[in-house]
């Protein structure tokens, strides 16, 4: 492992191709370029990335055995539940956001971004740091957990308010009751099916399966991720215009929340016995906010929440922050805390 200060790590990260392609996407939007990644290609890239991530994770779980990873799984589940609860109270009582907005935004932070995860694995591998490969299975746990906890928070808070203020139950009867379609969506949506499916396929086919698919799912991964980051830059770039409109509190939240969550994730990772790389990855997962599955689920379940708040926070601020600064920061923390 190369010895790095925080600044070295950030510098090393910012000169890697993935963040640079992301920056190119943002730049293209700011220049009003006509650059566009076709929809069908975008879906194809998503399938590829999640398929590759899942295959590796599944094969690795088979290697170490499910019984060896139950502690990190429990820790991951707790993280996914506690992060949105903390986020909710910060937004509701410090930020004075409505119940709906607080719960919807908090749910995004409990959920996870697979792309941030993928970029972090490339960052670590460029430093010759190897995290536990089975961690990608945690994406499948964290993604729905955060969303469901966010929706439950909205539901409970609304019931408490009705009881306290004696409002007509009908007046606040929100779609927050719509948890079944959300669970269905969370487990059968494009992303979940391909990730869960690839995990299972990786588990069943094992290292041999990885070997035969390596030319496609292994060697091309970095290049595909670059193209995907370009598209993410285009999407995030459009959100930047709305950043000013969401207010100073949410901007601060979208930067501080990942730092706090990431630090907790690194600490928890270290305590359950993950390596420096593994603790970094758990930090990255805790810090990242969903911007694909969660917005769709929240739109269905908490339509009263303003999408421009949660999309701008997670996609316009937290995602770029994590890509540029967050990933090297969590690595640096893991290294000074748990590196020998």
């Amino acid at each position: 492992m190369v010895d790095h200060t925080l600044l070295d790590a950030i510098g090393h990260n910012l000169t890697a191709p993935m963040p640079l392609f992301f920056a190119l996407g943002i730049l293209a939007t700011l220049l009003r370029s006509e650059l566009k990644v076709p929809d069908a290609l975008y879906i194809g890239l998503t399938l590829y990335l999640l398929g590759a991530i899942g295959l590796h994770g599944g094969a690795e779980i088979r290697e170490v055995g499910i019984t060896a990873i139950w502690m990190p799984i429990v820790a991951c589940f707790l993280l996914g539940s506690l992060i949105p609860i903390a986020g909710y109270f910060i937004l509701r009582y410090m930020g004075k956001f409505s119940i709906h907005d607080s719960a919807a935004i908090a749910g995004h932070y409990g959920s996870v971004s697979a792309v941030t995860f993928a970029v972090a694995t490339q960052f670590l591998s460029s430093l010759q740091v190897k995290p536990e490969g089975y961690l990608s299975a945690f994406l499948a746990i964290l993604e729905p957990t955060g969303v469901v906890v966010g929706i439950l928070l909205a539901r409970i808070a609304l019931q408490v308010e009705v009881r306290q203020q004696g409002e007509l139950a009908g007046a606040v009867k929100s779609r927050a009751g719509w948890i079944r379609p959300v669970l269905h969506e969370a487990l059968t949506g494009t992303g979940s099916i391909i990730l869960l499916g690839a995990l299972a396929i990786g588990y069943i086919s094992g290292p041999d399966g990885i070997a035969v698919t390596k030319p496609f799912f292994g060697d091309l991964f970095k290049g595909v991720l670059c193209l995907f980051m370009l598209e993410m830059g285009l999407v995030a770039g459009r959100r930047l215009a709305e950043v000013k409109a969401v207010g100073a509190f949410l901007i601060a939240f979208a930067i501080c929340m990942p730092i706090i969550d990431g630090t907790i994730g690194v600490l928890v990772g270290g305590f359950v016995g993950l390596s420096v790389g593994g603790a970094t990855m758990l930090g990255v997962m805790a810090a990242s906010a969903s911007y694909i599955a969660a917005p769709a689920a929240m739109r269905i379940s908490i339509p009263e929440a303003n999408p421009s708040f949660y999309l701008t926070a997670s996609l316009g601020i937290t995602f770029p922050f994590n890509i540029a600064m967050g990933i090297p920061l969590y690595f640096w923390l893991a290294k000074i805390l748990f590196g020998s």
Binding site: D39, R175, V235, R238, A296
Partner: protein
């Protein structure tokens, strides 16, 4: 050529509401529908860039009787209008009648 009177109902709404809307029109008695992707658009709720699922729209076309059209539009008003971006309208149209099935010899 024999023509029948019917109503063409068009509903444009958010992509995430697709399963809900399908359920709604089936319960209202629609015999079929066509769904088209809407690339992007702009309205009083702001632009819909169509880049991620929560930001996409779609258009549903249905050819139904007058009474079914009315029921569908009422249900759209009740279930979708309060919380979602939705645009619904109808045209009175004439549809080519289907030739009656020939009894098998």
């Amino acid at each position: 050529m024999p023509m029948e009177k019917a109503v063409l109902v068009t509903i444009i709404t958010e992509r995430v509401m697709e399963p809900t809307l399908i359920n709604l029109v089936e319960h209202a008695g629609a015999q079929g529908y066509t769904i088209e992707d809407v690339a992007s658009g702009w309205g009083k709720h702001g632009s819909r860039t169509g880049q991620i699922e929560s930001d996409q729209s779609f258009k549903m076309l249905l050819i139904v009787s007058k009474s079914v059209a009315q029921l569908i539009l009422q249900e759209v008003e009740r279930i979708l209008q309060p919380d979602y971006e939705v645009m619904a309208y109808q045209h009175e149209i004439e549809v080519q009648s289907r030739a009656p099935a020939q009894p098998e010899a």
